[in-house]
């Protein structure tokens, strides 16, 4: 079966790499880019199932990127990702489908991805630990 594809848009190299390794480990195909422009380009080049989007990025920030992603495909599930919990107060983020606070523990992220996929009738891959049981 073809793997589900996650597009990670994150300017911080360490954070981006962490997400990439973690999601690949879970069983996703991951495209990881460092800017909104690169993310939009990636979206046009291949099908993507979920976008994980950082808010605070230099140049085109996550809010503007969110608008442009939804302009391209308003059904695209976008999960916003930031270090600040206060961002939920920003109306500009309300078009996103889910929000996850940045953390080294990616449990919440996995849940959010599974939830947006489930809304579309898609089963997320099981966690590797669960798969081995």
């Amino acid at each position: 079966m073809e793997k589900l594809r996650i597009l990670v848009i994150e300017d911080d190299d360490n954070q981006r790499e962490l997400y990439k390794q973690d999601l690949v480990w879970v069983g996703y195909d991951v495209i990881a880019v460092r800017s909104g422009q690169e993310g939009l380009q990636a979206l046009r080049e291949q099908p993507v199932d979920v976008v994980l989007l950082d808010i605070a990025m230099p140049g085109m920030d996550g809010i503007e990127t969110l608008g442009k992603i939804l302009d391209y495909d308003n059904q695209m599930p976008v999960i916003l990702n930031t270090a600040y919990s206060s961002y939920k107060d920003d109306f500009m983020t309300w078009a996103a489908e889910a929000y996850v606070i940045k953390s080294h523990d990616t449990t919440e992220l996995h849940k959010a991805i599974a939830a947006v996929l489930k809304k579309r009738g898609i089963q997320a891959p099981p966690e590797p630990a669960e798969a081995s049981e």
Partner: protein
């Protein structure tokens, strides 16, 4: 926030080359003046006008009319908000999309409530009283409603409300409008005057942006809110000012536009422009008074049941139940009946016009006839089903 960005297809060709809310109305006004005057008279002085089509003349009019009445120092303004093309790279795709694309304004200002209005309705209303009601009932959305004969509700949004005013049903332009309890001959019509709790507005337009709807409040957002059982309330329209009449008219269609003018020429119009307790503001150009004079051989001009704006001269002609905008000239022996003549129109000697809207600057030749023979008129002009002929700008006569 005033939705002033419609293309104005229903008012074509009067909207050719100009934004609908900038279309001349009532002789000296522009359509937008009614909504903006209601805002100012209601004490609401922070206004965003969401525009997108041909808004140069509208912008000039708003600046001339409103800039001097609002104080920058007091943070009062009428701002023009065209599509920024930042958050979404498109024109406004619908009324809800216009708000969605401008959520950054609400984010910056963080108001508790947003009054959402249209720029193409003629009425006098105190929005502050409606706001008090909205806060009292704890609504997410309050909609102003007016009772109309049921058969006239097919082109409007129709509400059904329970005895506490909560909206329990909403249909946009229903073929068979529901009647009111105990008054089956009447329906409750949506006036396009909304007060929103800001967070509910932001949330509903954001959710809607992710659908393939028409992104329209009447067609998409409001029916869904009512269906979901959210607190949507009806506010029964009460007119502001001295007139006891509950006058509200959509002037964004040719028929509505013309009929509203005919309402104005009634001996005691329901929309009272002479009521200085609730003034309708507009820009008044420096023009001399209107003048009515005899023609040659002392042929008397006869003008009755009509509005004449500054700068008009009617010379030995008959003008009946008509509205003349500034600087119109009517030459001897011309007959004008139930017409709306816009700025700088000239009617030639002996011309005959009945139920005609003549756009700016048109010169009707001497002896020309429009309105007496609808079939002939339809070969040259737009003629509505109701028999209104529109003579557009820059028309050439043989």
């Amino acid at each position: 926030m005033v939705l002033a960005g419609g293309e104005g297809q229903r008012l074509h060709p009067l909207t050719s080359g100009r934004a609908k809310p900038g279309v001349r109305f009532g002789g000296t006004y522009r359509m937008i003046d009614f909504t903006l005057s209601n805002c100012i008279n209601s004490g609401m002085r922070r206004i965003h006008l969401l525009t997108q089509y041909a808004s140069t003349s509208l912008s000039r009019h708003v600046r001339r009319t409103w800039a001097s009445r609002l104080s920058d120092d007091m943070d009062e303004f009428v701002d023009f908000v065209p599509p920024q093309r930042l958050f979404a790279d498109r024109w406004y795709a619908g009324t809800a999309d216009a708000i969605f694309q401008n959520l950054f304004i609400l984010q910056e200002e963080r108001p508790e409530c947003v009054v959402l209005l249209s720029g193409d309705h003629a009425y006098k209303m105190d929005y502050e009283a409606m706001l008090a009601y909205h806060l009292e009932v704890g609504a997410e959305l309050t909609m102003a409603a007016i009772t109309v004969p049921r058969e006239k509700a097919t082109q409007l949004g129709v509400l059904e409300a329970d005895d506490k005013g909560r909206v329990v049903g909403f249909l946009e332009k229903p073929a068979d409008p529901p009647g009111m309890p105990g008054r089956p001959e009447l329906s409750l019509a949506n006036m396009g005057v909304y007060i929103w709790s800001t967070s509910a507005l932001a949330e509903t337009v954001s959710t809607d942006s992710r659908t393939n709807s028409a992104h329209d409040f009447g067609r998409d957002i409001i029916p869904k809110m009512v269906q979901d059982g959210r607190p949507v309330y009806m506010y029964e329209f009460m007119p502001a000012g001295r007139s006891p009449h509950k006058y509200w008219r959509d002037i964004g269609t040719i028929e509505g536009y013309w009929q509203a003018h005919m309402d104005l020429v009634a001996p005691v119009p329901e929309l009272d422009l002479y009521d200085d307790t609730w003034p309708t503001y507009t820009y008044k150009p420096p023009l001399p008074p209107a003048k009515v004079i005899c023609g040659q051989d002392f042929r008397q001009a006869q003008v009755h049941d009509s509005l004449l704006s500054a700068g008009c001269i009617v010379c030995g002609a008959d003008v009946e139940r008509s509205v003349l905008s500034p600087s119109v000239r009517v030459q001897p022996e011309a007959v004008i009946k139930e017409c709306v003549l816009m700025d700088d129109v000239t009617i030639g000697e002996g011309a005959y016009l009945q139920r005609v809207i003549v756009d700016e600057g048109v010169a009707i030749p001497a002896g020309y006839s429009i309105g007496a023979n609808p079939e002939e008129d339809a070969k040259r002009f737009v003629v509505t089903d109701g028999g209104i002929t529109i003579v557009p700008r820059r028309v050439m006569f043989e």
